[in-house]
């Protein structure tokens, strides 16, 4: 597992469910919140994060691969993707990416 869905924030719009390449996301009951049914099957591709317009999905690293308590979510603003990272101590950082620009590497 590398994602968490915040039930408070989820509106049940269903967009994350549509894209997941592993068919891992479902609704609890018709019309309600999204949840990850097969957490160990998650690839961590972050497709679902990018779909969610409600900042309801966040991503983290399992402790087995070096996770140290941080979580990350992503928001979209025009051509920009903002990646928001909050570490275990509550410190926040944002990395913004202009989708119209190529990588330097």
């Amino acid at each position: 597992m590398s994602i968490r869905i915040n039930r408070e924030k989820c509106t049940g719009c269903g967009k994350c469910i549509e894209v997941c390449p592993g068919t891992l996301l479902f609704k609890e009951v018709e019309g309600s919140k999204a949840f990850i049914k097969y957490p160990k099957e998650c690839w961590g591709c972050t497709s679902c994060l990018k779909e969610c317009k409600f900042e309801a999905i966040s991503y983290y690293l399992g402790a087995d691969i070096g996770g140290n308590g941080s979580i990350m979510h992503v928001t979209e603003e025009g051509n920009e993707l903002h990646w928001h990272i909050t570490d275990a101590g509550g410190n926040k950082k944002i990395i913004s990416i202009d989708r119209t620009k190529a990588n330097s590497y």
């Binding site: 390449p21 591709c45 087995d64 990646w83 330097s104």
Partner: protein, 563 residues
């Protein structure tokens, strides 16, 4: 379970890189009805889901397709299908242009030329490459997309393809699809071997865990000839996150160093893709690990750009740097080899195809990672193969007189297809779950067929054990219970992987030399032997794989199947 029967001109199995591009080609070049059956959703399915970092295959100015062929050939110790690599290479730049027109952002210099990374790569923003391809697909009215439809087997009559079976993962519908021609583009296979992080993060692998070798297995079950399963792909990746390393290695020219800070890759022969892994494994074996990409001191700016680049492809690596409180400018990046994947787009495992990408089953084409003989196709090569397969398929439709399938025959196909899946829904629950058998398979392959834990080496004594246990596991898998279509999909994924695993074992056994270090490390025969400068192919007959050795196919020729 509902049952539906569909008719189409062209069925494309797998709407990934190659599949989408084949559909686009068909839509642009014909008015044929095209159906893409995709187990996930084409917007974010397959290799491109998270994004990619560069286009790894491009003919940069001053170079020719032959140069690319030479590079691929050298990297593969000579053993490639030259006809395939060349026909792919010739199309690399054209499909790149097309991708750019669709919306892909590619880095250009002031003169409007693509900026290269290394000798063959160009720099892009690949985060949304898959949505771009999907949008293009949806723009054509003669393409229908079935998302969440998992294809499980071909329908073949007299060695000619006539369709395929599948089911909707969520809607409880069983499909019998009849088609004049089929393009298989299901990608390669991950999850055959025990992964690097078998616990919570077991799916944090490089290759998509949802590409489970379905296309290989369907071909094998239908008697198609397959090639080079012994040339496994083992990626050199960032430790733990299994994120790609090329971006760092090429992007900031970071060399590989061992635990003592020494450069080591030059000491292990030519710096091929395989040797980059092998040298790292050997350093570890000698006690000089762990190994790193030497990034310390690249500067703050470079570090910042790397953090961004990885968000566009493998966000875990950026998060990892943040978790460590140290980016690549301040700490070298530890590297490791991955579990072996079977993937015809990096190495050469897959269908044995003719130059037009037709498999040995008439009317069935293969493109992308599922097609053999043509390594290092990557994104652009997969697009190129999608195009080649689409064009061949079109020609095939034009040139073939198709037999009518009568109502009763059709019903018989529907019945036998449905029964195969239905039995799983009616099995009683047993001791084992599908996940447990998958884990068991991965452990067997790891320990007895050259996985990570044995530093990728294998020998005959181990392969014998592997094969017998893999066959036992298939018996157990055939008794599994499915409560819904998701379970059914998991069972088929397992059965497919078990079949691919068996093919890998038989191929590894047949190559009595070591051709590619790590990728195929035969501890009984530790040297390269030119007597094995030939392709190891196989066909499954009566539940057993038969090995066929085929002679080298050079460039220039148009290779055709002779049956």
């Amino acid at each position: 379970m509902d049952k539906k029967t569909i008719q189409t001109d062209v069925l494309i199995i797998g709407g990934g890189t190659a599949g989408c591009y084949a559909a686009i080609t068909l839509a642009e070049q014909s008015d044929k009805e095209v159906l893409i059956a995709e187990k996930a959703d084409i917007k974010r399915s397959g290799c491109l889901a998270a994004g990619v970092n560069a286009l790894n295959a491009y003919i940069v100015s001053g170079n020719t397709p032959e140069d690319y062929l030479e590079y691929v050939k050298k990297d593969a110790e000579g053993l490639i299908r030259e006809d395939l690599v060349l026909t792919m290479s010739e199309r690399l730049n054209k499909v790149t242009k097309h991708l750019e027109e669709m919306g892909l952002v590619i880095l250009k210099n002031k003169d409007g030329e693509y900026v290269t990374r290394g000798n063959r790569n160009i720099k892009i923003n690949g985060e949304n490459i898959k949505p771009i391809l999907a949008n293009q697909v949806y723009s054509y009215s003669n393409i229908t997309v079935f998302n969440r439809v998992n294809i499980i087997d071909y329908i073949v009559a007299d060695n000619q393809i006539i369709g395929a079976y599948g089911f909707h993962i969520l809607k409880n519908t069983f499909y019998t699809i009849f088609a004049k021609t089929v393009i298989c583009s299901t990608g390669g296979a991950a999850g055959i071997y025990k992964p690097n992080n078998p616990g919570l993060s077991r799916h944090k692998m490089w290759y998509p865990p949802f590409n489970t070798g379905a296309g290989y297995a369907m071909g094998i079950r239908s008697g198609a000839e397959m090639t080079t399963f012994e040339m496994r792909f083992i990626a050199l990746r960032c430790k733990d996150t299994i994120a790609p390393t090329g971006t760092i290695a090429q992007g900031v020219s970071a060399p590989q160093i061992n635990g003592a800070g020494e450069l080591y890759d030059k000491q292990y022969g030519a710096p091929t893709t395989a040797n980059r892994v092998y040298s790292t494994i050997e350093e570890n074996k000698q006690g000089r690990g762990p190994c790193f990409l030497k990034t310390e001191g690249i500067g703050e700016k470079a570090e910042e750009e790397l953090l961004k680049a990885y968000l566009n492809m493998a966000p875990a690596q950026t998060l990892k740097w943040l978790e460590r409180g140290k980016g690549p400018n301040h700490e070298n990046v530890e590297i490791e080899g991955t579990e072996p994947y079977i993937v015809g787009g990096h190495t050469a495992s897959g269908y044995w195809v003719d130059t037009g990408r037709q498999t040995t089953i008439k009317g069935l084409y293969a493109a992308g990672d599922v097609a053999g003989g043509c390594p290092q196709k990557y994104v652009t090569g997969s697009l190129a193969e999608g195009e080649i397969a689409a064009l061949s398929a079109l020609r095939y439709i034009e040139e073939t007189t198709f037999k009518t399938i009568y109502k009763e025959e059709q019903q018989e196909y529907e019945r036998t297809g449905f029964e195969a899946v239905n039995k799983f829904l009616h099995h009683p629950e047993g001791i084992y779950t599908v996940f447990q058998l998958e884990e068991a398979m991965q452990k067997v392959m790891d320990e007895y067929a050259g996985g990570i834990s044995g530093n990728y080496g294998y020998n005959q004594s181990r392969l014998v054990i592997a094969e017998s246990r893999i066959r036992e596991l298939r018996e157990l898998a055939l008794r599994l219970h499915a409560k819904d279509c998701y379970d059914l999909m998991k069972i088929y994924e397992l059965l497919d992987r078990l079949l691919v695993a068996e093919a890998v074992i038989v191929h590894l056994e047949a190559r009595k030399e070591t051709r590619w270090h790590s990728f195929q490390e035969n501890l009984d025969f530790q040297e390269k032997d030119e007597a094995y400068f030939l392709y190891i192919n196989s066909i499954r007959k009566n539940e057993r794989f038969e090995i066929i050795k085929r002679a080298f196919v050079g460039r220039g020729v148009v290779y055709e199947h002779t049956h």
